[in-house]
Symmetry: C2
Subunit: 398 residues, 2 copies
């Protein structure tokens, strides 16, 4: 994907968020005065509207969505999903699993969560996952397996989804190797919960993207038919990140597939939204709910100012620009350094020294992970909470 | 800089570290068994050897080095520098300043540190810096200013370095604008500690790099002459990150400059070293002292395995490859996802599922910042400590 093209083709004026109001307008002046920058701010009202839009795309059936929580990493944001009745989630790390299970324990008696650690396990992470599942036995916990030998790593209190690789070549048994998929499903036996097939590489523009998604699902229907014919029951199929989920929700490509599995999509970025997702999926109608607040601290030359949010506050791995400023036109981010982000523009458009910028990140998931705390804004005001599931756990003590 | 070229030109076999021994060989099997991956490991003995090499480049005069601590962010690693007599440091954030001042308070009575927060200040960060300086009055704390108006932000207990921009266009008053440099120095008055001029953009190969460094310093000598002529005393000049420091230490370009300032270089990456610095500066003779430990968790297709260190464990903003594996030949990292790093190679060279990789990051500074804890290895064994200065402080409470 050329993340530059969306902005470059249309020029600076086309930056999709540059006429939106800064989220920081909701912060009281005395709080802004005490706030050190860079700082992560999430508007919970905008995030809630995004959640409602995704559920609307799902025909108001929230149970068709198994959101990935790697983006948000914060139980206070996840509570928006619980409040709308969602109970099935995807996570990637044991830190995310631990924090989510603690949140789920707050559900009323008889209510429970269903968490897929959508990640192949090492021996240590499989033990830690099993330990966390045992500490929170009310909820169901599952992991990915992609070959028969991996099943033995996972203890019986943890369910299994067979991971199939639709061509993204990241994890999973290849679609072409149905023998391996079938052998893994058989090795899982009664612990088999379903099939996981993440087709997140489909970054092409529509309609080509739609054609490729359809081809992907035609092959997946074939795999399900073969598994069904071999007596393997697939109760659930989990697919689709942000680029594909809307097309999948609308076309329902696994309806009537062999065994009639429940088909859930798993976008996660949609809750906070970001610049990359907006460039790829402008039709989703989502709002930027997360910004990195930054201040202008330098004027190193004519036509340039520098703010205090670099690649240690705004993830820079998804390419340029790393962010766009809400509510400011004609400002273009240059390549960041670790604690500096220079911005270029006509002299008249440059903000003054000390000026506050609300920066919508190109890629919000690793950006959230850079921050230890997040300012949460809603109608009651602002509070700062830990990004409780950031980073990685270090040891499993059996 | 094309970070790919160094590896691509020579092909896979030229990866500079692929014949080095994995650092994880120093970890006991029972610890490795409990270790969740990805995890950051630093060999303090290798880091100490790197520190000794830099001091040797400085002609055994440790006081010519004002190391930048943004790379290491950990007092237990900074202790290596204190043990060799270094007392002058550079930091970028108030979190780094706080942790460093706490460490410096452990120095014997009468001994003290000299910390430059090499960063232009906002009103909030200037207040926080002043507050920290007041809490640790034994040590001297300074910040950067680049225009007269900025001097007023900084309280009198904090010293000032005028930041000059040698063409990197990141921060500082431009070299061409000597009037602004002079006016800022005059506004600083008796609080002026020196001049800061970071020429970190000099990524070209030698000898062209040397020519450009020399041209940069010829202009800096001219600026010092003008300041001196105007009655401004510049006691110290701080320059040079990793790409330029050796040439500068050897050629001493400010020797005999007007006012005879103390000239210190400020590389920080050299303590832990990384792939990018090795590709740019192979002549330094440094060792990779930091690795991200990772395990192979997937075989998504023939010729590829995937390990569990993605861009949330290995900073990916400096380009491909994000890392190379110590002690394994013929393995090439593909583009990472957030928690996945696929690696390609001939089938026979691919490590088995569960296999441990010691990954030397392309860019170690933001990689260290991704980790909450670090495993420190020395002759006494291994201990895990917090990366105490990672991230950013959120509020200043006056």
């Amino acid at each position: 994907m050329d993340t530059n093209s969306g902005l470059t083709r249309g020029g600076r004026a086309s930056s999709p968020f540059n006429s939106a109001a800064p989220l920081s307008r909701g912060l009281a002046p005395d709080l802004l005065d005490r706030l050190l920058t860079p700082a992560l701010l999430v508007d919970l009202r905008a995030a809630a509207r995004n959640v409602d839009r995704v559920i609307a795309w799902a025909g108001a059936d929230a149970d068709r969505w198994r959101p990935h929580l790697k983006t948000t990493k914060t139980p206070q944001i996840w509570a928006l999903l619980l409040a709308r009745g969602l109970r099935a989630f995807k996570v990637a790390t044991t830190a995310e699993l631990r924090v989510l299970l603690e949140l789920l324990d707050g559900l009323p008696a008889g209510d429970f969560g269903d968490v897929l650690v959508a990640y192949p396990q090492s021996s240590a992470s499989a033990r830690r996952t099993s330990q966390l599942a045992a500490l929170h036995p009310r909820h169901t916990v599952s992991v990915l397996v992609e070959e028969p030998a991996a099943v033995g790593l996972v203890r019986p209190n943890v369910g299994l989804f067979v991971d199939a690789n639709p061509g993204m070549d990241r994890t999973g048994a290849p679609y072409d190797d149905v023998d391996r998929i079938l052998a893994t499903a058989r090795a899982a036996g009664p612990r088999l919960r379903g099939l996981h097939a993440y087709e997140g590489h489909l970054h092409a523009d529509f309609p080509e993207r739609g054609v490729r998604i359809d081809a992907c699902f035609a092959r997946l229907r074939g795999i399900l038919r073969q598994l069904h014919g071999a007596g393997v029951v697939v109760a659930e199929v989990v697919t689709s990140g942000t680029p594909a989920f809307r097309h999948v929700l609308e076309t329902r490509p696994l309806e009537g597939a062999a065994g009639e599995p429940l088909h859930r999509v798993s976008p996660g970025t949609v809750v906070l939204h970001d610049l990359r997702s907006e460039l790829e999926n402008p039709e989703l109608g989502l709002e930027p709910a997360a910004v990195v607040l930054s201040r202008i601290v330098s004027r190193p030359r004519s036509g340039r100012v520098t703010c205090d949010a670099g690649s240690k506050a705004l993830a820079a791995e998804a390419g340029s620009p790393v962010a766009v400023a809400l509510g400011i036109r004609g400002l273009e981010a240059a390549t960041p350094n670790e604690e500096h982000l220079p911005l270029d523009g006509p002299e008249g458009a440059l903000p003054a020294l000390g000026g506050l910028l609300d920066l919508v990140p190109m890629h919000v998931c690793p950006t959230v992970n850079l921050h230890d705390r997040v300012l949460l804004l809603d109608d009651d005001g602002v509070r700062d909470v830990p990004v409780a599931a950031r980073g990685h756990e270090l040891f499993v003590d059996d």
